[in-house]
């Protein structure tokens, strides 16, 4: 443990104050002593403040990245919590295995994937990340390491998956990988016009594809348009694929706020649509380009300027989907808030073991606004009204503002969860939503 004063950032540009960083490099090492609350922190890719803790001790885990065991017959891999998906992919893809559930970036840690019970383009087929976790090691403030699985410490197992790091420090994770025969994805793109198309095309095509997602041009006036993107792992390995181990380029410094304004966002969205419109249909792409397009640019969040970005992701039951999408889109456009990247995805019915798991049957929509201050806050409050009127929920990993009431409405099992929080753990998110003091 090596401790020092340090400021931590989340991907959306939130910062800590008065926090102390302690690196956890070896999983056998004791946790920092002292009465200060603590929180594990991997790569800080949560957008809001669930990965931050003011006036506390932040346990940095990214150097704790060893593999522990790998079974090449079953594809079960055990690795330390700081191991990133990028490192795991580098290891498993050449051996014919893939991460069972991939979020939109590979620069996240395994511990973070468990703590946020992340989801991916294959939720309709596979469920969330937590569905593939067979067990993990958790160190609580009493000092003992517990091996948690559906059989062993089942209550902590369910609480830690999606538990936002509040149940203790995750030391290692064991997951079932998915066999693949090629590092390539056979991708299919199709234009979408009108709100209903987002649901009809997805429902029609879902049965044929492991992965599917829809991108929506939220800046386009008139009939909403978008791109339906679906894919399967290619059957045969035609050519070697060399994934990026580090980003291709980087945004070297925080850009001035005007760079990503409504005008430029509109232009980029139109450009993205036009680029796709050139070649609808099938193509073969590397897994990096399919799953992690934004990873090509390091620190892309800096493009949003000093105030950062406000991600807003919600899920509503399927029957309210079209209505919720139409209404939120209308509200964003009426508020003249351009969303850079808007994504619509239908969640499937496979339940996650996590008590606080966000994915649930229905449709999830994710907006990505430059943070413009009070006007953005007002818009998000307004979007909340739509979401909760539809019986929906907000995603903690992308949130920096939800109230205790919103949290409790989103996660009905919060009481059960609270019982299992490690008394030494806390986060800015947990304090705001009343999970910890």
């Amino acid at each position: 443990m090596i401790g020092h004063e340090k400021t931590f950032y989340s991907w959306g540009g939130k910062v800590t104050s008065g926090s102390h960083g302690e690196e956890l490099v070896w999983r056998g090492d004791p946790l920092p002593a002292g009465a200060r609350p603590r929180l594990a922190h991997g790569l800080g890719r949560s957008y809001g403040d669930s990965c931050l803790l003011n006036d506390g001790c932040i346990v940095e885990t990214q150097r704790m990245d060893h593999l522990i065991a790998f079974d090449s017959a079953t594809g079960v891999v055990r690795c330390e919590a700081g191991c990133t998906l990028a490192k795991l992919l580098e290891f498993c893809v050449p051996r014919g295995w893939f991460i069972p559930v991939s979020p939109g970036t590979k620069f996240v840690t395994m511990g973070g994937c468990v703590a946020n019970d992340v989801h991916g383009k294959n939720h309709h087929r596979a469920g969330s990340f937590g569905c593939f976790v067979t067990r993990f090691g958790l160190r609580r403030s009493d000092g003992a390491e517990r091996e948690c699985s559906p059989e062993n410490h089942a209550d902590l197992f369910r609480a830690t998956i999606g538990g936002l790091g509040l149940t203790g420090i995750i030391l290692w994770v064991e997951v079932r990988l998915k066999p693949i025969r090629s590092p390539f994805i056979r991708q299919r793109t199709e234009p979408l016009r009108g709100i209903n198309a987002f649901f009809e095309v997805a429902r029609r095509e879902e049965a044929h594809f492991d992965y599917s997602v829809a991108w929506l041009d939220a800046t386009h006036a008139g009939t909403p348009r978008g791109v339906f993107i679906a894919g399967n792992h290619a059957e045969e390995n035609h050519a070697p694929h060399f994934p990026r181990s580090s980003p291709r380029c980087s945004v070297p410094l925080t850009l001035p706020d005007f760079v990503l304004g409504a005008w430029s966002i509109g232009l980029m969205n139109a450009g993205y649509y036009a680029a796709n419109a050139l070649h609808w249909g099938e193509s073969r792409v590397g897994y990096d380009g399919f799953f992690y397009p934004l990873d090509a640019v390091a620190h892309w969040n800096r493009a949003y300027g000093k105030k950062g970005l406000a991600q807003y992701q919600f899920v509503v039951p399927m029957e309210f989907g079209p209505e919720a999408l139409r209404e939120t889109l209308g509200k964003a456009q009426a508020a003249r808030q351009a969303s850079f990247l808007t994504v619509v995805k239908l969640f499937g019915a496979i339940p996650s073991p996590g008590l606080l798991s966000f994915p649930r049957p229905g449709v999830t929509v994710c907006f990505d606004f430059p943070h413009l201050g009070a006007s953005t806050e007002r818009l998000l409050d307004d979007l909340d009204r739509t979401v909760f009127a539809c019986g929906g929920a907000l995603y903690p990993a992308k949130d920096a503002r939800m109230s205790r009431e919103s949290f409790e409405r989103s996660f009905p099992r919060h009481r059960e969860f609270k019982e299992l929080i490690d008394p030494a753990c806390s986060s800015n998110f947990a304090r705001r939503t009343g999970l910890t003091a």
């Binding site: 090596i2 490099v25 070896w26 056998g28 060893h66 593999l67 522990i68 065991a69 790998f70």
Partner: protein, 244 residues
Amino acid sequence: MKHILVLGATSAIAQAFCRARATPGARFWLMGRNEARLRIVADDLMARGAAAADVRAIEPGNFSSLKTAVEEGFRVNGRFDLFLAAQGSLPSQDLCEGDPGLLSKFFQASAVDIMQAALLVADKFEHQGDGACVILGSVAGDRGRRTNYVYGAAKSALETFCEGLRQRLEPASPVILVKPGPVDTPMTAHLQKNALFSSPEKVAVAIMSAIQRRAAVVYAPFYWRWIMMLIKILPRRLVKRLRA
């Protein structure tokens, strides 16, 4: 390059290097100070497909534990293609100035142990007729600096040592001194990071290419060669007034 002997195997650079070499058939003999940590490194290499990864804990300053471990390694593995010495620490300059015990402890672990191990290995390599020696130095060894001259002194001792050992083992065994600039590792966790910091993986790549080229002294990343060349020609009259 299948049989690898490492002193200081828990160092971030040694780990990055070993991971990249953990292919089927690779055999590692990992020596270091902390057995539990060595075990974690060994499990990682085995999971990546290494054929064997044994660990031996060495007590700093205890020559017999070092000698036993090295000899056992050669006995078990038959031979080694590579000896990598990555053991070392970055002590606080201020503490070393006030605590003579700390100074000798530091020198023991970061210089003396390494020389003793290298000499044991040199005998074996002479007998074997091949095998490469890679020793981690530092740019800090090129010129003394107010803020870390104790660390720099140990590293420059290794440089002079390597120069002589290189003559002794020529031409059968190359002796390679790798001088990284600042690297983002647990050793430097307390330092403020800047653009000059490199990663253990990049240094590992530099080590591998140095072995293939049988280079004598390599800087990692390469541009430190030019930076240090400039710093080395600064006149002493100027340098002694510097405070950094």
